[in-house]
Amino acid sequence: MSTPPAASEYRRREQSITLSPLQEQLEAGSAGGEDQTQELLTLNFGPHHPATHGVLRLLVTLRGEVVHDIKPIVGYVHTGIEKTAEDKSYWKVIPVIERMDYLAYHFNALAYIGAVEQLAEVVVPTRAEYLRVIHLELNRIMSHLVWLGTSALDLGAISMFWYCFREREQILDLFEFSTGQRMHTRYFQIGGVAEDIPAGWAQKLREFVKRMPNSLDQYGDILNSNEIVLQRLRGTCPLDSETLLSLGVTGPLLRAAGNPWDLRKAAPYSAYADFDFKIPVGTVGDNYDRYAVRMAEMYESVKIIDQALAGLPEGPYITTDRKVALPPRHELATSMEALIHHFKLVTEGLRVPPGEYYNAIEGPRGELGCFVRSDGSSKPARVHMRDPSFVNLQAFSRMAEGAYIADMIATLAMLDPILGGIDR
């Protein structure tokens, strides 16, 4: 880092009439050996900026146009979700916890619900697991579509935004059909899913599955061999797999660097062991690999949905354990026990035996973990979400060191940070 010149030097230069202070500085400083022609400039990419995905504040130290160091400052959308979750009963935590990583709401819900189900030792019926997998993979595709649309917007390929959101609307139509809400659906419940799929949903999903690969082909045609995309993404900001692992990075970023770590294959949860799909892996770990890995993941997700829909078994959609899940409405008229269970569940909530559990699933951005500590009452004593974007952001500075500002923006887009998850 160069030292700024003394005040007397400034005064002398102010009074001089030379029009080339840089030349002067060069002559004065060439004997010193230190590169005095450039100072470090610290620029604030404020929380309100069109290129930061959400309210991320970056203090970027620049040497000319080359990035020297990046300090991310987060916390601008900190919502106190974990504290609110301690105040509500287990069932009511689900809508709160869903709003953490707001593009992967089913994943948030499953991470939390999986932990509670382990603590309460609840068995989830297979039909519910398959429905969960379908919704999770639809959510993964939707999250990647938003990523693709906004990243292409950052790079300048503005029309991709409309194409991606067109597909996203189709997915949200499916969500609305089955769950009633477009976002934050509260569909996953402890013990299964909230409701069975309505008639006609499977047909609509089948049509979507048939159409989606063609749309993905379209996006690939537009972007994959595009000259500008190649120049901006290929070879920029690579980071190798060991450094990423030491920084705690998982997900498409790690897979782009060549490490095929995916919790869906390594430690299968829910019904993923029943499906046949591949894990796309990159080679170099530069921005183009990160982009290509996510594009390929969308194809694989469509395959999973296809298999899950084809193999959807009959059965209950939520556990029959009445201490955990609400009884069906028609039973309330005839069974006293059902009435009592309903009353207890709605007013007090379910009681979970004391214990601690950390449940990790593979979210669209990496390992999404949820730590739940229960003290035997009907409210959790601690809920902590290990969000992948929070940990992945630590690698951003290492990735963008030595790159131009434009490459830094492209890297931020390929990093896919979701500030709701980072700040919780």
Binding site: G54, T79, T84, Y102, T150, E169, G420
Partner: protein
């Protein structure tokens, strides 16, 4: 306020209008051929006839009409509601139909702040600063439950937007559907059209607090 496209005989129209008024007042007209005979019910139709064909308005209303049809929203997506705000720019619920698709990145060029998402206490001063940097006339829509009230999260870290800035329209929902946000924006448009002098200064009794640049 549309102008019909048939050719207008302006002179004849003026004459008809004048004579109609005079007849209504009960006077006699001199020097006019009795061919201009007006039916009684035609007198009342005439006003409407004229108004339909000629753009008559005050300057205020015209300016309000122009302003309301060209909001420039500032890109201010905070959290989940931002995704639904992006959805109104997308093709299904197309905000460009109404002329609002020009989202400006700089608050100096924007006049509508769509606060979409949860405002944490760390972010509140920044939101206020962005709002202050916008030039008059400016409006604010609070989108979603979190900034209108506290929303799902009623805790230490959130601030409802009403506490630090004046909001014109609150759009409830968590997140509000794109159609709901569109409804909110159109409501604001109607508010601005109908009340050209409406501004937060009138509502909050802060008239006289405008700052003007000195000199220049």
């Amino acid at each position: 306020m549309e102008v019909k496209r048939e050719p207008i005989d302006a002179h004849a129209l003026r004459v008809r209008h004048q004579t109609a008024r005079q007849l209504l007042r009960g006077g006699e007209i001199e020097g006019l051929t009795p061919a201009i005979e007006l039916e009684r019910n035609e007198d009342f139709e005439l006003e409407r006839h004229v108004e339909e064909r000629v753009l008559t308005t005050t300057l205020d209303k015209a300016v309000a009409w122009a302003r309301s049809n060209s909001f420039f929203p500032a890109t201010f997506g905070l959290a989940c509601c931002a995704i639904e705000m992006m959805s109104i720019v997308a093709a299904r619920v197309d905000v460009a139909r109404f002329g609002f698709e020009a989202f400006r990145a700089s608050p100096r060029q924007a006049d509508l702040l769509i606060l979409s998402g949860r405002v944490s206490i760390k972010m509140a001063p920044i939101v206020r600063r962005i709002y202050d940097q916008m030039l008059e006339p400016k409006w604010a829509i609070s989108m979603g439950a979190c900034c209108s009230s506290m929303g799902v999260f009623n805790n230490y870290s959130l601030v409802p937007a009403d506490k630090f800035m004046p909001i014109d329209v609150h759009v409830p929902g968590c997140p509000p559907r794109p159609e709901a946000l569109m409804h909110g924006v159109l409501k604001l448009r109607k508010m601005v059209q109908d009340h050209p002098d409406m501004g937060w200064r009138e509502r909050y009794d802060a008239v006289g607090t405008e700052e003007t640049l000195r000199g220049a």
